[in-house]
């Protein structure tokens, strides 16, 4: 999904509060140099099938402090490798959030999202309208808007292309 598409649609995997980076990708797999192999072990301690059954475009829904713990960027990278369409959490730990947007991932904050989504549901994330919508129940919750800086970063495709364009022109100021 690119930034011009205002709506992200996908099948949901649902997780609880405080899903930490040791759970998202345990240290022994972070040491693997093959990122595709590493991603097969994503969320293994709590959902052993996730890494092999997550399909491109699937959405990860989680509770509070998603990504709490270490600074391992592998915890964001595994979702990118698996082609996850978006992450929607009640809140994020700050290092994970930065790592996610730096990888061009849609890391969306939507308090209350867990109460409107069941595992396997398909949901709509309406970025322009600022809401997450579950068509099977009609329920929706608002999205906490991103600051312009974050939007610019994700729209650029992540930090590396953002930094390159910032250096190349004066347009991408803070």
């Amino acid at each position: 999904m690119n930034a011009t598409g205002p709506v992200i649609v996908g099948r949901c995997w649902v997780f609880g509060d405080d899903i930490d980076t040791d759970v998202i990708i345990p240290s022994k797999y972070v040491a693997l140099r093959d990122f595709t192999e590493m991603a097969k072990h994503a969320l293994e301690p709590v959902e052993p099938n996730f890494g092999t059954q997550c399909r491109p475009g699937d959405i990860v829904v989680a509770g509070k402090s998603f990504g709490i713990g270490s600074s391992r960027e592998a915890a964001a990278l595994v979702f990118k490798v698996l082609g996850v369409g978006a992450i929607v959490a009640e809140s994020y730990a700050r290092i994970f959030f930065r790592n996610a947007i730096n990888n061009g991932l849609y890391a969306i904050e939507a308090p209350g999202v867990r109460s409107i989504v069941n595992p396997g549901d398909s949901i709509y994330i309406d970025l322009q309208g600022g809401r997450v919508f579950n068509p099977s129940t009609g329920a929706e919750v608002p999205i906490v808007p991103w600051p312009p800086m974050v939007l610019a970063l994700v729209q650029a495709g992540g930090l590396v292309p953002f930094l390159k364009s910032r250096r190349g022109s004066t347009a991408a100021q803070l």
């Binding site: 040791d22 759970v23 040491a31 140099r33 700050r94 590396v160």
Partner: protein
């Protein structure tokens, strides 16, 4: 209106205009550090951004998690890191010297007023010497290696005022666990935690490092510690500490009377799942671990040795000591501390992160239980997802090693 210490330091690293919380700035860094764990992602981003280092004297390369490597992939990664340091003639490259947070401070690199970014969540430990240490991922640190700057949102500051005198066998770790028990793991998210008050002013460097380190588990983006009362230690004396103005605005103040505290333990799977040590008497342990950037300095090894002197580790318990730095290791060797630990039955390993992240030198099997001086006890952190880590001070770890179950050190030391 006054500024907090962190607002002043960030202002000095941005465009020198007085900054307020919430502002987004590009800040020039004094130090940027890449480590072994995050190297494979760093190297791609660094190459894509042009592959040149902005200042070879201001970047740091360190191998601490994989020291020494225990898999072929780890060895490959550390080999590439060595080659990177050689190729770019990086002045500060550390291999097998210990955990970065202790190495930064004990080597005298990072000091008051500095801005440090590193690919490690416990980078806020640098607040112990009055530096801003911010943890970032390797893609951002690659940007800092190339351009010498990072984007930051100026954080608000929560001040924790510590007063009173610690009772016997109660330590900085217990203060941190108490704050986690009371306030949880989220209250510091996006914020600076500043430690001040009469008890803070009297703390040793080792104690300050423990508190600042544990602030990561409180969610803190960075920490700041009030300068020590009286003469600062040698390695902090060459730069003037930056302090918050009397009229600085804090988001919140938290008061703690450390004189009322008891030895505490955090049960798995969260550092905030805390209760008094005596509640965990029935927990039998397979392993006791003194190590990690939270609590394995020279001072911590001395505390353990005082409890273990003349004692033996319980049958069936593996007691592992991993000094946080080569400096601590060597001093403990020279002063007979390691001999006390070895005589009690400890396995003393090379310095580094050791068993803490569950990679080597003490990985836990199914259902195994560790009492540990480390900082986090998440599911699977020590190895198998069914293994369990209980967090405590080095004194509780040492006392538990003797008895074979989680033990109040006041019962062992009369």
């Amino acid at each position: 209106m006054g500024q907090t210490a962190v607002e002043k330091i960030l202002s000095a690293h941005a465009d020198h205009r007085p900054l307020s919380p919430g502002e987004l700035v590009w800040a020039k860094v004094d130090w940027a550090c890449i480590d072994d764990v995050q190297w494979p992602i760093f190297k791609g981003a660094f190459a894509e951004l042009g592959g040149t280092v902005f200042d070879r004297e201001k970047v740091i390369v360190i191998a601490d998690h994989y020291s020494p490597p225990s898999t072929v992939d780890e060895a490959h990664t550390v080999g590439e890191l060595r080659e990177f340091a050689r190729k770019h003639q990086i002045l500060h490259a550390y291999f097998d010297q210990g955990v970065k947070h202790q190495v930064f401070i004990e080597s005298g690199l990072v000091g008051p007023g500095d801005l440090l970014v590193a690919t490690d969540s416990h980078t806020p430990t640098a607040g112990a010497v009055g530096a801003i240490g911010i943890a970032l991922g390797p893609t951002e640190v690659a940007g800092a290696f190339v351009y010498g700057e990072v984007w930051l949102r100026v954080p608000g500051t929560i001040r924790i005022l510590l007063r009173g005198t610690l009772p016997p066998m109660v330590f900085a770790k217990d203060i941190a666990l108490y704050i986690l028990q009371r306030e949880g793991t989220r209250f510091g998210n996006y914020r600076v935690i500043e430690f001040a008050g009469t008890a803070a002013e009297r703390m040793t460097l080792s104690e300050r490092m423990t508190l600042c380190n544990m602030a990561t588990e409180m969610g803190a983006k960075a920490t700041m510690f009030v300068p020590p009362h009286g003469n600062p230690p040698r390695h902090e004396g060459f730069r003037k500490p930056v302090v918050s103005d009397a009229d600085a605005v804090f988001e919140r103040e938290i008061q703690v009377d450390v004189g009322t505290l008891e030895p505490l333990v955090a049960a798995p799977p969260s550092p905030s799942n805390v209760d008094v040590v005596t509640k965990f008497r029935d927990v039998k342990i397979d392993q006791a671990f003194i190590g990690s950037c939270a609590n394995a300095t020279y001072d911590d090894l001395v505390i353990a040795a005082e409890i273990l002197k003349g004692a033996r580790v319980a049958k069936g318990v593996q007691f592992i000591v991993t000094p946080s730095s080569a400096t601590a290791y060597y001093r403990a060797l020279k002063e007979g501390i390691l001999e006390v630990l070895l005589s009690a039955g400890a396995v003393v390993t090379n310095p580094g992160c050791g068993a803490c992240p569950g990679l080597h030198m003490g990985v836990l099997g199914p259902g195994q239980v560790r009492i540990s001086s480390q900082n986090r006890n998440f599911i699977g952190r020590g190895g198998h997802p069914s293994s369990q880590i209980y967090l405590a001070s080095p004194a509780v770890v040492a006392a538990s090693a003797i008895t074979g179950h989680i033990t109040d050190p006041r019962e062992v030391v009369s």
